[in-house]
C-alpha cells in the first residue's frame, strides 16, 4: 500500500505537468516521467515483466518518438498557447470533469464489499509466454499484422517526401 500512496500522487503530478506545461518539450518529458512512474507502479504491483516492457516501450520508444517529432516540428508557439489557454481550459474542463465524476462514481460503487487478495500473484515468464501463444494466439497474430502494417505504413509516409527535389545529383 505504501508504494502506491507514494507513487499515485507522483504519477498524477507528472501527468498534470504533461497536460499543463507550456513548452511542448517539457510536456513530453513530463509524459515520459509519468509513464516511467507507471512502470515503477507495475513493478510495485508485482507485474515485473509488464513494468519493464512499459519502461522499454514507453520511455525508450514512444516518449523518444514524441520528443523527436517535436524537434523536427519545432516552433516557438508557447506564447500563443498560453494566451489561448483560459478559453480552451474551460471547454476542456466542461468535457473532462463530468467524465471524471462519472468514473469516480463508478469506482466508489464497485469497490464495496469485494474481498481483496493480499498475496502477490505470480507472473511467471514461461506461463506468460505459453498463454500468449495458445489462448491469445489470434490476438498475437492480429497484433503482428497490425505492427507489420504500421511499419510499412510509417516507412511509406517517411519515404514519400524523400530528398528527391533537393538533390540533383541523384545520390
Amino acid at each position: 500500500m505504501t508504494p502506491l500512496l507514494i507513487l499515485a500522487p507522483l504519477i498524477l503530478l507528472a501527468a498534470l505537468g504533461a497536460v499543463w506545461m507550456a513548452r511542448p518539450v517539457h510536456a513530453a518529458l513530463m509524459l515520459a516521467l509519468s509513464l516511467a512512474l507507471v512502470a515503477v507502479l507495475y513493478l510495485a504491483l508485482g507485474a515485473d515483466f509488464i513494468g519493464l516492457v512499459q519502461f522499454a516501450v514507453y520511455v525508450g520508444a514512444v516518449a523518444v518518438l514524441i520528443v523527436f517529432s517535436l524537434l523536427i516540428t519545432r516552433r516557438g508557439d508557447e506564447a500563443e498557447e498560453i494566451q489561448r489557454r483560459p478559453k480552451s481550459l474551460v471547454t476542456g474542463l466542461i468535457c473532462s470533469l463530468p467524465v471524471l465524476a462519472v468514473l469516480l462514481y463508478v469506482v466508489s460503487q464497485t469497490q464495496t464489499g469485494k474481498p481483496e487478495r493480499e498475496t502477490l500473484p505470480q507472473l511467471p515468464l514461461k506461463e506468460l509466454g505459453i498463454t500468449l501463444f495458445t489462448t491469445h494466439a489470434p490476438a498475437v497474430l492480429g497484433i503482428a499484422v497490425l505492427l507489420t502494417a504500421v511499419m510499412i505504413g510509417a516507412a511509406l509516409f517517411a519515404r514519400e517526401t524523400g530528398k528527391t527535389p533537393q538533390n540533383p545529383d541523384g545520390k
Binding site: 523536427i72 530528398k163 533537393q166 538533390n167 545529383d169
Partner: protein, 384 residues
C-alpha cells in the same frame, strides 16, 4: 561580395524568422575541421545543406600590400607563409616571376634543384592532404599521423638544405640560395625509394576501405565546364577529367625534359580528387628519380644576379607554376625602383574555394566537411 554588407555582421545568416524550419549554423571560424580560421554560414534543412556562404579573411595579413613596400628579395620569406604546407613552390613561383621581369637566366643545376624541391613539396602537400581528408571524415588521426611521419622525413631534407623545415626562403632570383650539402642527393634518393612502400601502405589503408568509398564517391562533383568557368585548377580540375597541368600546358623550368604523365579522373567527386593526388604522388616520384639521376654539376645561382640593391627594369610579368594545389601565379609590375609597383598573387586555394557552395548544395553537413577538405585549402593562401 564586398557590396553585401551582411558579411561583416557577426552572424549574418544565423538570424532567421521563427517561421521556417531551417537551421542556420555557423561552421567556424572556431570549428575543428575548417582547416584554420574559415567560416561557413550554412543553412540546413534537417541535415541537408540549403545554402552555404563562405566567410573568410580572418587570416588576412596584407601580404600583397606589404610586398609593395619592401624590396623584391624581402617578399621571398613572405611567400613561404602563403601556403605554409608547401613554401618551396611558392618561392619558385615568385622567383620565376621576378626572373621573367628582370630577364635573369637560371643555371642548369639550380633548375634541377628547383624541380626536385618542387616535387618534394608536392609529395608533402598530397601526403598531408591524405591525413587531413581522413581526419575530416572522422578517422581518429591515424592517417594524419602516418602522413606526418613521412612528411617529417622530407622536412628533414629541407632542414638540411634550407635551414628551416617549413619557412624555407630558399629560392633566389637566378637560382637557389645555397648548393646542396654533401650527401643530400643520396639521402633524397633513398627517401624517394622508400616512399613507394609508404604510398602502398597508405593506399591499402585508404582506398580499399568501404566506408571511405561510400563517403567519398559521388559527393561534390560539378560538371567540368563549371569548373573551368570557375577558374578551378590543379587536382580538383584534373579529377573532373580536364587535362590541364601547367607543367605540360605551359612548361616552365625544365619540366619538358622529364617523362611523366598527368592522371585524369572521370567524375570529379571527392574520391577522384583523393585518387588523383595519389597518382600524382607516384608521378612525382618518377620525376624525382629522373631529376636526381640527371642532376648536373655547376652553379647553384646565377653569379650575375644581384642580391643587394636589386632593381628590375620597368615592366610587368606574370609567371605561374603548377603548385600542388593548382595554378599558382605571381603578377608583378615594376616601376624601376627597389619595390614592386604592384604585386599580386593568384592563389589556387582561394580560387578553388569559390565554387564551394555549388558543390555542397543538397548534400549533408558531413559532406560539406569532406568537400572542403578535398578542395585542399590553406587559409594562409586564401586570406593572404
Amino acid at each position: 561580395m564586398i557590396s553585401d554588407p551582411s558579411i561583416f555582421s557577426p552572424a549574418p545568416v544565423l538570424e532567421g524568422s521563427d517561421d521556417d524550419q531551417l537551421l542556420r549554423v555557423s561552421l567556424g571560424p572556431q570549428h575543428p575541421s575548417t582547416h584554420g580560421v574559415f567560416r561557413m554560414n550554412v543553412v540546413l534543412d534537417g541535415e541537408t545543406v540549403v545554402a552555404l556562404k563562405p566567410v573568410f579573411g580572418y587570416l588576412h595579413r596584407n601580404h600583397e600590400k606589404i610586398a609593395e613596400s619592401v624590396t623584391y628579395l624581402s617578399s621571398m620569406p613572405y611567400t613561404d607563409r602563403l601556403d605554409y604546407i608547401c613554401p618551396l613552390t611558392n618561392n619558385w613561383a615568385y622567383a620565376n616571376a621576378v626572373e621573367k621581369l628582370a630577364g635573369i637566366e637560371v643555371p642548369e643545376r639550380a633548375e634541377y634543384m628547383r624541380v626536385i624541391l618542387g616535387e618534394l613539396t608536392r609529395l608533402i602537400n598530397h601526403t598531408a592532404f591524405m591525413g587531413f581528408i581522413l581526419g575530416d571524415m572522422g578517422a581518429w588521426g591515424s592517417a594524419l599521423m602516418y602522413a606526418f611521419r613521412e612528411r617529417e622525413l622530407i622536412l628533414d631534407l629541407f632542414e638540411d638544405l634550407t635551414g628551416a623545415r617549413m619557412m624555407a626562403n630558399f629560392m633566389r632570383f637566378g637560382g637557389c640560395r645555397n648548393d646542396l650539402p654533401a650527401g643530400w642527393a643520396e639521402k633524397c634518393g633513398k627517401l624517394v625509394d622508400d616512399y613507394g612502400p609508404f604510398l602502398d601502405e597508405m593506399e591499402k589503408f585508404l582506398v580499399g576501405n568501404e566506408i571511405l568509398l561510400a563517403r567519398c564517391q559521388d559527393v561534390g562533383q560539378l560538371p567540368p565546364a563549371t569548373l573551368i568557368n570557375g577558374g578551378i585548377t590543379g587536382p580538383m580540375l584534373r579529377a573532373a577529367g580536364v587535362n590541364y597541368d601547367i607543367r605540360k600546358a605551359d612548361p616552365y623550368g625544365i619540366y619538358e625534359r622529364f617523362n611523366f604523365r598527368i592522371p585524369l579522373g572521370e567524375k570529379g567527386d571527392v574520391y577522384d580528387r583523393i585518387m588523383i593526388r595519389f597518382l600524382e604522388m607516384r608521378e612525382s616520384l618518377k620525376i624525382l628519380r629522373q631529376a636526381l639521376d640527371q642532376l648536373p654539376e655547376g652553379d647553384h645561382v646565377n653569379p650575375k644576379a644581384k642580391i643587394r640593391g636589386f632593381k628590375p627594369p620597368v615592366g610587368e610579368a606574370y609567371a605561374r607554376i603548377e603548385g600542388p594545389k593548382g595554378e599558382l601565379g605571381f603578377h608583378l609590375i615594376s616601376d624601376g625602383t627597389v619595390n614592386p609597383y604592384r604585386y599580386r598573387v593568384r592563389p589556387p586555394s582561394f580560387i578553388n574555394l569559390t565554387l564551394l557552395e555549388d558543390m555542397c548544395l543538397g548534400l549533408d553537413l558531413a559532406d560539406v566537411v569532406i568537400i572542403l577538405g578535398s578542395i585542399d585549402i590553406v587559409l594562409g593562401e586564401v586570406d593572404r
